[in-house]
Amino acid sequence: MRPEEIEERIRDAMTGEQTVPRNGLWESIAARRGAGDRVVFPVSKNDSILKTLVVAGTAAAVLLLVAPFFKQGGQEPQPAVTRGLPSLTDDEGGILSPGALMAQSSATPAFMPVAPIGSTLRPGNWSYASISNGAELRESFRYSIAHSTYQGTATWLVTSGNPERFAAGRATDSLWLSTDSLRPLYRVGRAGNGNGRVEHSYRKDEVLIGHTVNGYTSWTVKPLRDSTDNTSYGGILRLPDLSLQFRGMALSTGWRGSLPLPTENPTMIASIWLNLAVDGEDELIVPAGRFSTWRLRTANPDRTMPRYDPEHPDPGIYFWISKDRQWLIQMSMVNPGKWRHDQVLFSATEE
């Protein structure tokens, strides 16, 4: 088959179809705008050389000023430059670069799956900081763990949100977990600009999902792909979801394990796997104090997901876990020579 024939077949297949917006599409847009939902568009890497230079210059200044906060071991990955968006999570704790994380994941666990252990949790409060504009280390996200009950059963209650709302008693996300396996039972979170709400009610094999916008709630049911996955949360991947799973891991030199990551498609909630390996040990000084840590790095021995950036190796994703209480002390996403995102433990109290 000649190249022109292939091109013609592609054009014929594509141009013969007319797609008309369905009734209700505009109403959905209007409802989301009305609920305060906003979308930030992706920017091309080539958009502005000037912008890149300005960001790189600012970032270099930031690195110089905050370097004392990041005294780490000799094998710490150090990119030459960084770029904007130093935080890894948004104000709700949602991880901002899930694409890079997912590129490092696999459809099946490469190592022994890690089972979350609820008995290792203790009530307490943890907050994380990112590098804000200029040199300021800003507390950007907080979560707490407390004893609670859900429908008469003892549970862990994990509440989270940005510090201002949290301090005002308006935590933006609440998740009830079984005390043994940390299986999610019920979750209610903020949607849009605070005017909407999303609920997940977890059953044995399915999740009941409610979206409330402008006082109206629509309900859908999605099956769980594997009901034995303890951590099949729907929706975005959040920092507490990851952080709690680290509590049950018996880390040591040479340790490797796979964590289930929640993912949601239009028809079901399923898990993909984040494969981690102990990469070394570091002494870290962060705003919350000095910690002796295990450094974990994502490992992808049997690549099953497309690269994050086809032109370059995937960014390195690192987690530093304290040896004593297995707190998440720092997580970093490092694209050598290009950019780096960090989030560090800002404060912590535990009973």
Partner: protein, 161 residues
């Protein structure tokens, strides 16, 4: 444009009525799915009043909207493809397929960026410099990847005959 920047819903609706069909078709060709395309168009118009501040009125609004649509579709392709991979169990429907369906299925076998390069170049008529800018790659990389993608498509379509 000022009304749109001010977030007036009537102005947004006018732009939607003028361009939604064209943008939905473009998103569908890029994503290969009506539901993904609707999500792309929905996200585009939800974010448009804020994004319009960056539109400098030096070019056609339609071309700018199409570029935004391509970027949103690419973002969705890069992550949405993963979700589909988790969901699909590998079974294929065994019905007699039309030529168009064969092409669609062959395109679905390509990586998200390669699919976008094929659609943007062959169907939408973008040149390699524009494609490179949209995908954040070098121009020659766009050319090489188109060549390889077409070779793979030819193999897939010939095997399917």
């Amino acid at each position: 444009m000022a009304r749109l920047r001010a977030g007036e819903m009537d102005a947004l609706r006018e732009v939607y009525q003028l361009h939604a069909t064209d943008l939905l078709g473009l998103a569908r060709r890029l994503t290969g799915s009506v539901s993904d395309a609707e999500d792309v168009v929905q996200d585009l118009f939800v974010g448009l009043p804020e994004a319009i501040a960056k539109y400098q009125e030096r070019g056609y609004l339609r071309a700018w909207l199409r570029r935004l649509t391509v970027r949103l579709a690419l973002m969705r392709l890069r992550s949405g493809r993963l979700r589909r991979e988790v969901y699909l169990d590998g079974s294929e429907p065994s019905v007699t397929r039309s030529d168009a369906r064969q092409v669609h299925e062959a395109l679905a076998m390509l990586g998200p960026d390669d699919r976008a390069i094929v659609v943007l170049k062959i169907v939408e008529g973008y040149d390699h410099a524009e494609i490179a800018e949209l995908l954040g790659i070098r121009r020659n990389a766009s050319e090489v990847r188109l060549h390889r993608a077409l070779a793979r498509l030819r193999k897939l379509l010939e095997e399917d005959l």
